[in-house]
């Protein structure tokens, strides 16, 4: 039988160490909504989302109450709209109208975000996908809850550099279109290499075409819990360090698995995966950077950071995999800047640069995330940063992503405040030298060789 110490341990994790379930994300296929009539398509999409997700928020709140575990976000991901709207949309404006429909549907069911305003263009773009991409600035400035993602490359196909070049411009335009709110639109826009079909985290969640009609995916969190556990083994060997992370990740993930199972039963929708990510928040003590410091660094970014992060990421996966029947999504340690107080402190102290963050993305899940850069950064430079990150993902057969925010009207040394879970960030300097001639080359970077791995 459960004893009082176990109960206290769990409740302390929840109360003092910010243990929560970061998101229950309901993936909904919109493939059966497709028609060539835009008005009808909008109606179909609205009806499908509001019917399938009708009870999502209510069930989420019930589970929160009964188990005493906060579920911070309830979200929806849908089939990439670049596919769904291909037949009906004749212009970027038409696509932006679909974004409005997604926003209305998400508002009607009360979720925090809806993802899937997306295009998968890792090898080539259809006309519709190009139109969707061109509509992103308008879509993200006119909606509140819609998140957008574009897959630009993969290990099997290489990198679509035409799309990379276009996304540099689109990110700038999105920043411009939302400059009144510190270019917040860019916080809802992410580009990927090797994007997973079942990611529950925003801004990159979409419901892949390999998925069933509807599916429940859950993202856990828990940097604060790992950090507290590591404080108790300060100075111990790597073996003890790794075992502690694994055990803690196991416990955190079991909660995610429980919540996912319950949500699945109560909603009558199959369980998909648990995403094992350590997702930080700006709350004090809920930081991945703080874990790196606890492992033994003065600040994130110091020499040793990449090794410490590699260790952390691997142990989280090893501990979490056994705790869940199906693991998927991004699964690893997130290293966003604005959403992690320890990362922000490291940037302010001069310890953490974009180049070091790029190195860290080689061993963690995701990539350059929530990094504020000067608003006058050239579109080609942004494309160059994207290309670098895509190359890391492509060659290492992992998911990488870029979510950077060129804050219009602000420069290095200034701060930007996004609010809520998105946090705040100091604007970081970008290498000033041009890559325009590189980015302006047409076509794609071929897929890498899958043998002779060194």
């Amino acid at each position: 039988m459960i004893n009082i110490f176990e109960v206290n341990e769990t409740n302390e994790m929840i109360e003092k160490e910010n243990l929560d379930v970061r998101t229950i994300t309901l993936g909904i296929s919109l493939l059966d909504c497709i028609t060539d009539d835009l008005k009808k398509l909008k109606g179909n999409i609205y009806d499908k989302i509001t019917t399938t997700a009708r009870d999502l928020v209510k069930v989420g709140k019930e589970i929160e109450k009964e188990y005493g575990i906060p579920i911070v976000n309830k979200r929806i991901s849908v089939t990439p709209v670049g596919l769904v709207g291909a037949s009906a949309c004749k212009s970027p404006d038409d696509f932006a109208k679909l974004a409005d429909t997604l926003d209305e549907a998400a508002g009607a069911v009360g979720v925090n975000f809806i993802g899937g305003y997306s295009a998968l263009v890792c090898k080539g773009m259809t006309k519709a996908e190009e139109m969707l991409i061109r509509s992103i600035p308008q879509a993200l400035s006119s909606t509140r809850l819609v998140c957008s993602s574009v897959n630009l490359g993969s290990t099997r196909t290489g990198i679509n550099m035409d799309a990379v070049r276009l996304m540099g411009k689109i990110i700038k335009e999105t920043a411009e279109a939302t400059k009144d709110s510190d270019s917040l639109g860019c916080a809802k826009l992410v580009v990927f290499c090797n994007a997973p079909d079942d990611n529950p985290f925003m801004a990159g969640a979409f419901h892949g075409v390999t998925e069933a009609d509807a599916v429940i995916n859950v993202g856990v969190s828990g940097p604060g819990v790992v950090n507290t556990a590591l404080k108790k083994v300060r100075g111990e060997s790597f073996e003890v360090l790794c075992e502690t992370i694994k055990k803690t990740a196991f416990k955190v993930t079991r909660v995610g698995q429980l919540v996912a199972g319950e949500a699945s039963v109560r909603l009558g929708i199959p369980f998909g995966i648990v995403d094992l990510s350590l997702a930080p928040t700006p709350a004090v003590g809920d930081s991945v950077a703080d874990i790196l410091c606890e492992i033994g660094l003065e600040h994130a970014g110091a020499p040793g950071t990449t090794a410490a992060l590699a260790l952390l990421n691997d142990q989280v996966k090893k501990g979490g995999v056994m705790a869940s029947s199906y693991v998927g999504g991004l699964s690893g340690a997130f290293i966003p800047v604005s959403e992690d107080q320890g990362m922000i402190d490291a940037v302010c102290a001069g310890s953490l640069t974009i180049e070091k963050l790029e190195a860290m993305t080689c061993v963690c899940s995701v990539g350059l995330d929530m990094i504020a850069i000067p608003g006058d950064t050239a579109a080609s430079t942004i494309s160059g940063m994207i290309a670098d990150e895509m190359a890391i993902g492509m060659v290492n057969q992992k998911t990488t992503a870029v979510r950077i925010i060129p804050v219009i009207g602000k420069g290095v040394g200034e701060n930007v405040e996004f609010g809520g879970l998105l946090g705040h960030a100091p604007i970081m300097p970008v290498n000033p030298y041009s890559c325009e001639a590189f980015v302006n080359r047409k076509g794609r970077i071929p897929a890498p060789i899958h043998s002779f791995k060194n």
Partner: protein, 90 residues
């Protein structure tokens, strides 16, 4: 049978257990096990309860217990046992 864990944490005072048990009895909630300890000067109690015969929804019981806790200056929490079993049992 779905079991529920009720925890009471706070400054020790007269009648905490009495109040909680009276509420549970009035709502036909059966107590299966009680353990209690003092941690760093704080009263710390855990009950394992069976709510199957209670007609009230779980959410209401949880809110009303929290309310009683506020009145006597302790924190009372009511959670399904599964969250603890998931975390601490393989």
């Amino acid at each position: 049978m779905k079991k529920t864990i009720i925890t009471v944490v706070g400054k020790d005072t007269v009648g905490i257990i009495a109040k909680v048990c009276t509420y549970l009895a009035n709502n036909r909630i059966n107590i299966l096990d009680i353990s209690q300890t003092i941690v760093q000067g704080y009263f710390n109690m855990m009950m394992i309860a069976d709510m199957n015969d209670s007609s009230k929804p779980f959410g209401d019981i949880s809110d009303e217990l929290a309310q009683i806790g506020e009145e006597i200056g302790v924190v009372i929490r009511c959670q399904r046992e599964d969250i603890f079993k998931s975390m601490h049992r393989v």
